[in-house]
Amino acid sequence: MSFLEINNLKVHFPIRGGFFNTIQDYVKAVDDVSIKIEEGRTYGLIGESGSGKTTVGKAIVGLEQPTGGEILYYGKRVNSKKLRKKMDYNKEVQMIFQDVLSSLDPKKRIRDIIAEPIRNYENLSKEEEIKKLLDLLNIVGMPPDALYKYPHEFSGGQRQRIGIARSVALSPKLIVADEPVSALDLSVQAQILNFLKQIQEEFSLSYLFISHDLGVVKHMCDYIYIMYRGRLVETGTTQDIFNNPQHIYTKKLIAAIPEIDVENRDTIRLNRMKVEKEYAKNEKIFYDKDGKVFDLLPISETHFVAVKSKEDLKNVENSVA
């Protein structure tokens, strides 16, 4: 059962202009996006920059006000700040930020940074609080003396660990991770990802991974949502997406995953060119005349593709074969 449902989420930003600075049009940053989150599972939300994926994440945690659609937490609407407060929603849904340094207040000690959510929701004595903070630091593998340091004294990977410690402090159900490793060194990336997997088991967390890189989330996610221009183009289990991609955009993304395979580099190159050609040829089937993505159609129980009609999909396969 899913505990969080996002139905037909819309986030539209007005474009103002003209003589009286009136609303001329809207940027549809997020348009009709539906996501279901179940307990203990990991979801990927993939798209290029500007596709609206971060806006979806921000709307889920409450940083962005949805223009339309609904966010249901155990079947109850949490669209407004008041409703979220009533449900203690922000105790259960947390976020990890891409720009780690900017997400930690430079004027506060780590102790106060990690303790912020605890102080807001739990009434602990000073000793209890310290004990909890030390536990958290221990979980993220940081030494106890980190408590009294400032964010600028740590490396990028360490800072992200601190950010994670803060986000799990209230034992939330879901963590929205907005490109949690893209600002880190490659060697540290794997470390943090493995570590996120580890604490997932410990806290029976769900993750919503927001990333532009399919490669990074391939080994993390159970279910993947692919976004393009504010709409979902294809959703499915990781197997569905990687073994049986249907949308031309998905195919392009998969082909773009960097691979270090010197021997087969010509084949890879040819494959990429083939995907590129297919993209140009089949654009009409996947986007309407304004370049808008169609609505999702089911092609299996778990796998959905945004396409004009299912028949067209078969034609695509035939043409490629």
Partner: protein, 310 residues
Amino acid sequence: MSRKETNSDTMVLDINEEELKALSDAPTFWQVLKKEFKMDKLATFCLVLLIIIFAVIFIGSAVLDQDQVMRINLRNKYLPPGDEFILGTDIGGRSIAGQLFIGGRNSLLIGFAVTIFTSVIGIVVGLIVGYYGGKVDNIIMRICDFIQVLPATMLIITFVVVIPSYTMWHFILIMTAFYWVGMTRLVRSKALTESRRDYINASKIMGTSDLKIMFGGIFPNISSIIIVDLILSFAGNIGIETGLSFLGFGLPPSTPSLGTLVSYARTPGAMSDKLWLWLPASLLILVMMLCINYVGQAVRRASDAKQRLG
């Protein structure tokens, strides 16, 4: 699972809070400031000089009996500097030196009061409109635009004249009404940039109240810029007050200011052979302005990593 089993109860005891706190240097403004003043000897000199001037003025004016200083004694009219009156006397036979203490204290206090009032308004309003944005922000900013294009000096003078039973507090209020705009704009723009950063977003997600975010999150992060503006507007406010008092539209006549002393320059003969009447006060204002502004610039450099000397 790689997590080590540790007993956190004993760990609590292991931690010596003070020692650890001392180990870790905050990126505090004060340390940078100390370094900056170490590098800039002139700034240190200005700061020391200012402290001495302030101390002398406040102690002197506390010791002096204001009524006695301000008592008119025509027998001592226009005495040049000498043994009895170090800096001479004015038309009423009152000691210039004594008036310098009392006027200096009044001018400093007014400058201080106006700075505090305008800054408190500026910080509170600026933080609120910068953090929330939207319609209120728009309205407040339009008001600020308007106040900024008003001919402030003239309007202040006019209000000073038309207000019946005018006192020092009226003056402070009038000045505050016109000069809160600067700090408000500064704080607003800084709060706006700051509230777009992720640590503020993080605080919002973690359920921290807006008030706490504004004053516990944003405020400490923009405090160095506020301090710079505080110092510079302190100097500015002293300048405005003494200027208006010089014209005769600042403090009420019963409350002497440095500006009142400078205005003796407009009495006949003051320029050619009675320099003692107005020159000491003018020089005192000049020295204070130069020092405060110089200190302010040093603080500004410290608050901006790109400009630092040290």
